[in-house]
Subunit: 140 residues, 2 copies
DNA sequence: CATTAAATTGAGACATAGTCGCATTAAAAG
DNA sequence: CTTTTAATGCGACTATGTCTCAATTTAATG
């Protein structure tokens, strides 16, 4: 069904549904958790794919635009994404010691943000909340 | 008083309070709003300072650590900072069309985040919330 | 199926942000 | 003033991402 969504998106944009784009989507769909473009590219290469780095980087914005993936963090100078799939939107807590990532979702938080946007006459499209600190294990 | 704080920080760390570090702090203190390291460096160069790019980049983490500046955004692959000075902590809404940045602060939001951290046994140190969308003018 | 126009691709050059090693210089302690 | 230690500038280097362009693929049309 993700492929269908992508196909439709690509069609409405007058773009072509190519084998390479499909391969990239495939690899992302079978990836659990967060990923970054470079790592994705290397993984595909390792598996024998003939895809190029440029194509990986060029496909990511398309998948973002049609809502199949989201940017979740931008740390250490590079972007990280995750597939949206059945997952509902969530934000992240990141442990500065061990790197553990805790995903959380709070309807109250989302609501509050809507209110804050309204107050500023701002039309919020998306947001990114990262809480940095120490996980339970590392706080000790 | 900022210089004093920096001086103390530097002392406790066994570092030296050099003229260059002082110059960089100076330039930041006279900067209104957000800045990025590259722009700061160019500005200092233009004003005739002999400071090097490396020193600017090396001083920023020190100022972060002692709480004189904060990282506020990481967009377009590069980091942006702002001085903390009298300003209270706040988060940002960023217009994806005109680039306008709206600063806001909500005690409720801060409180809620504390609760969420507690629920996850997470010790939150700092956070970064960016809401992307369209400002009042650009929503029209 | 063949033709064709438009989009996509890979390769590698290029860009940008930031980091690092090392010889030289400056700070501060005695 | 001397000594020790840290900081500096320079430029090379790294990492992440973007761009150009010739060659290829797609998909629409006949
Ligand atoms: Mn996630
Ligand atoms: Mn701000
Ligand atoms: Zn941890
Ligand atoms: Zn705007």
């Amino acid at each position: 069904m993700e492929r269908q969504k992508f196909k439709e998106y690509v069609a409405t944009k007058g773009l072509k549904l190519t084998k390479k784009r499909d391969d990239i989507l495939d690899e992302i769909l079978t990836t659990e958790g967060h990923f970054d473009p470079e790592e994705l590219f290397i993984r595909m290469k390792t598996k024998g794919s003939k895809v190029s780095r440029a194509s990986v980087y060029r496909t990511i914005p398309l998948l973002l635009e049609c809502g199949l993936i989201e940017e979740v963090e931008r740390i250490d100078k590079h972007a990280h994404y995750e597939k949206v799939l059945g997952k509902q939107h969530h934000d992240h807590m990141i442990c500065m010691k061990c790197g553990k990532v805790i995903e959380f979702f709070s309807p109250t938080l989302e609501m509050l943000q809507s209110e804050l946007c309204q107050k500023e006459s701002f039309t919020g499209i998306r947001h990114n909340l990262e809480i940095l600190g120490y996980c339970g294990r590392c706080s000790k």
